[in-house]
Amino acid sequence: MNVKQIKLNRQMDAILAREEAGIFAPRSRNRAVSKVLANRLSVFGLIVFTIILVLCVFAPLFTQYEPQKMDLRSILQAPSAQHIFGTDSIGRDLFSRVLYGGRVSIGIGFGSALGATLLGVGLGCYSGYRGGWIDTVLCRFSEMFTFFPQIILVMLLVTMIGQSTSNLVLVFIFTGWCSIYRMMRAKALSLREEEYVQALRVQGISDFKICYKHILPNALGPIMVYITISTAAFMLQEAALSFMGFGVPMTTPTWGNILNVANDLSILKANWWVWLPVGCFITMFVLSINFIGDGLRDSTDPSQQG
């Protein structure tokens, strides 16, 4: 018997022992949830996500500095016990800026993702189920959006309606609903012919109710995955836009706005603490969301098993 077999036997024995002891009774925990928790990367993601989220939401507890307060006596100081991440070129404490900026960045990312998903799912479910001219028009409309490089469209719209945090969220929602719309539409289109839907129709239940109460829940898995993944995508876009000066106005600290100073080659060379920690914060946060999203997809989508 080789090592592998012995190992396998041992595992089987262990399972048998647990079964006999009666521990293997059906667990009450949701299967999808337990599968996410079994995925090591997702758990790591959840931990990092929670840490950063807590740091940002309860920012006043972790730093006594105001994010906007200038202190011209301490300009561009390297990290020290007083200023954990150092200070920037007008003496603002970077740690507090990162934490308060995180609130705005995460808010924009999550808010836009939620809004885009609501819009896309709402339209997709109805148009897939009803078909007809609404469906055709919306379909062509969403196709138009996929042809447009999103960042170009966002930049155009932002300059047209003016820069502000809420405008940015609106523009993100307006440009980001298409892919979830198409997914939801395809799902509704395929479920429309199912017998249970036919049965509901025969009972005279309104289209509206069939759509949103009986068809929509079938797509909850992919919807959750979409919300996480697009939160990550919107946060990256916000960072890129703010970096170029088209995102949130510079008066509000966001992760992208803090990184904006790295445009200056001398700061890039000499003052690593101004841009490196923020960049790592964005990367870690987006990465943790992507880990969670991957875990969610693996646990809710049967075609992605293995």
Binding site: L41, R140, E143, M144, T146, F147, F148, P149, Q150, I151, I152, L153, M155, L156, T159, M160, A232, L236, A239, A240, F243, M244, G245, F246, L259, A262, L265, L268, K269, W275, G279, I282, T283, V286, L287, I289, N290, F291, D294, Q304, G306
Partner: protein, 319 residues
């Protein structure tokens, strides 16, 4: 195949027309006198009010939106894109100056990411569950999570400023225009621009390769005694690559959009950087023309991808 091609071309043309109309509406709603970007600046300075009015009349600018749109559209078809508001240079000339740089960069990024992405993806699929696979999976996710411009800045700092291996930015040194002299300038921007796409292609190639591994025809191939590498790389690869090609097509807009960011990080004198300058300077005619060009580019490339997938997989044509 022919009827499929014709149908696709018709759809693309229709959508392009709609895109033109929307762009024109935006342009029309922008503040400012349209004459100011239809004539170059010097002539405009010498014109009297009467002449301007006559010109408006002759250009049909006093007509309804629809007639104005068609006049403008006729100009586009004849290659007359108008003039830049800030420099007064014809937009055709600006585009002709900057487009080659962007095309060079995009093709380099596309080549890099498709080759590296597929190779790593296949490697990851063949070594499923091993250390290599796990490392590559995590690396792929990191590649998708790191902001492109941040990665670009770090790469710039390490390879250009600290190690001094590669030039800091720009497309070429003065006096160097041969392709091989320019190559070092291209390396960093292309890799950074292609990073996101590489990570996406890698993940997709992996799952699609794993999907193909369970198919019956691979078992048949194996049972015929074909060597394992041939089964994977010739028989499996061909089928697995089909969805990957579709993915590359879907992600092309991202590549074009990403070039705006990357070109500004690396001071690459391309159309993306020009776009940024134009948006900052509220140079609307130039902005709209570049946007139109980018839509056109994505539409044409997605059309080519459609044709490619239809040629590779006969089932697509019947849809």
């Amino acid at each position: 195949m022919l009827s499929y091609t014709i149908r696709r071309i018709m759809i693309i043309l229709a959508m392009l027309f709609v895109a033109c109309f929307l762009i024109y509406l935006c342009l029309d709603l922008m503040p400012g006198d349209p004459i100011s970007y239809m004539v170059d600046q010097e002539t405009l300075g010498e014109m009297t009010d009467v002449q301007k009015e006559a010109m408006r009349q002759s250009l049909g600018l006093n007509g309804s939106v629809i007639t104005r749109f068609f006049n403008w559209f006729r100009g586009i078809l004849h290659g007359d894109f108008g003039y830049s508001l800030t420099s007064g240079v014809a937009i055709n000339k600006i585009i002709a100056d900057t487009l080659p740089a962007t095309i060079e960069l995009s093709i380099a990024a596309l080549l890099f990411s498709s080759i590296v992405g597929t190779v790593l993806g296949i490697l990851s699929a063949l070594k499923k569950g091993c250390v290599v696979d796990n490392v590559l999976t995590v690396a792929g996710l990191i590649g998708m999570s790191i902001p492109q411009f941040f990665f670009g800045l770090v790469a710039l700092l390490i390879f250009s400023i600290n190690l001094g291996w590669l030039p800091i930015g720009g497309r070429m040194e003065a006096g160097q225009s041969a392709f091989f002299q320019r190559l070092p300038h291209l390396v960093l921007p292309a890799i950074v621009l292609g990073l996101f796409l590489t990570a996406g292609i890698m993940r997709y190639a992996r799952s699609s390769m794993l999907d193909a591994a369970n198919k019956d025809f691979l078992r048949t191939a194996r049972s015929k005694g074909i060597p394992e590498w041939r089964v994977n790389l010739i028989h499996g690869f061909r089928v697995a690559m089909n969805p990957v090609v579709v993915l590359i097509g879907l992600r092309l807009p991202m590549l074009i959009g990403g070039s705006v960011v990357i070109e500004s990080v690396f001071q690459w004198p391309g159309i993306g950087k020009m776009f940024l300058v134009a948006v900052r300077g509220q140079n609307y005619p130039l902005v709209m023309m570049i946007a139109l060009l980018m839509i056109f580019a994505t539409m044409v490339s997605s059309f080519l991808i459609d044709l490619l997938t239809a040629a590779m997989d006969p089932r697509v044509r019947l849809e």
